[in-house]
């Protein structure tokens, strides 16, 4: 029988974890919770949990994949807690939010313009990403949570509803709000001057 490659059933030395994986875990967390301090705490909690559960590391996946799966659970827990705290203080915003975004007869108050071709070059992608970071930071918590879970992690609707304890209809409304809010912000911060071309301004429904 051919010899099996040696599988690593134990973790590496925990003293090396921070240097080997700290930045990767931190980036993962910061992108999702949008706060450096919280992200640092989550990384620490993750590595601590990993240390305490070293025996459960099966070696089937890479060590980093294992850390990330722990971190992912910590992030979802964090969002779940935040969502509960927030809901106690501010009631879920209702449809009136949209009243400011749409004028009479449901027309856009500030119509989308300037968006064209969806094939972004690497340079454009970098700029878009910087603008998106800025705009995502500005989202109110309820929308930031759905942005993180849905757009970044592509989590399905059912799971998100459970995490946030909301109904699907409520989730869809939030996702819609999040998307139109990002659109407005990105038109200013990414499209910038391109937006105000006379040809684009004329177009209407």
């Amino acid at each position: 029988m051919p010899e099996q490659p040696a599988t690593n059933l134990t973790t590496s030395d925990p003293a090396t974890w921070v240097d080997a994986h700290g930045d990767i875990l931190f980036r993962y967390a910061v992108k999702r919770v949008r706060d450096r301090e919280t992200a640092e705490e989550l990384v620490q909690e993750t590595l601590l949990a990993a240390l305490q559960n070293r025996d459960s590391f099966s070696g089937k996946s890479a060590e980093q994949t294992w850390f990330i799966s722990i971190l992912r659970n910590k992030i979802v827990d964090h969002i779940r807690k935040r969502a509960r705290e927030r809901d106690r203080f501010e009631p879920t915003p209702d449809e009136t939010y949209f009243d400011a975004k749409f004028a009479k007869k449901g027309k856009w108050s500030d119509a989308p313009v300037g968006w064209s071709g969806s094939n972004l070059s690497p340079d454009e992608l970098r700029e878009f990403r910087a603008a998106l970071d800025l705009c995502a930071d500005k989202l109110p918590p309820a929308l930031a949570h759905v942005f993180s879970l849905r757009e970044l992690d592509q989590m399905d609707s059912d799971s998100i509803c459970k995490v946030l304890s909301i109904t699907p209809t409520n989730l869809w409304t939030r996702l819609h709000r999040m998307r139109i809010t990002l659109r407005e912000c990105l038109e200013v911060h990414w499209l910038g001057d391109a937006k105000t071309t006379p040809a684009a301004a004329k177009e209407g429904c």
Binding site: R36, E40, K105, W108, F128
Partner: protein, 91 residues
């Protein structure tokens, strides 16, 4: 919803409803009359076509972003040392 209501919806759908449908499209299967309403509205409405394009771009970028690491973000030295010390204390 009865047939007459559905036909009315298709003919009268506005930007507010159409943009909600565009967002919902990636969350749930749309009903036949909703798809018809959306198609009809997009045919006549430039701004909503732009919005549909924005949603496509956003989705595309999100896919590419989640695959690529962002190398510019690092753990600070302080937190690095703090986490190391915490791990050491619990070893």
């Amino acid at each position: 919803m009865n047939l007459l209501k559905k036909i009315q919806f298709v003919l009268n759908v506005n930007c507010r409803q159409a943009s909600q449908l565009l967002s919902d499209k990636s969350e749930r299967p749309l009903a036949g009359y909703e798809r018809a309403a959306l198609r009809f509205h997009l045919f006549v409405c430039g701004p909503c076509r732009k919005y549909a394009l924005f949603l496509l771009i956003l989705r595309d970028v999100m896919m590419r972003i989640s695959a690529e690491p962002n190398d510019a973000v690092h753990l600070s030295h302080e937190s690095r040392s703090r986490i190391k010390a915490t791990l050491e204390a619990h070893s």
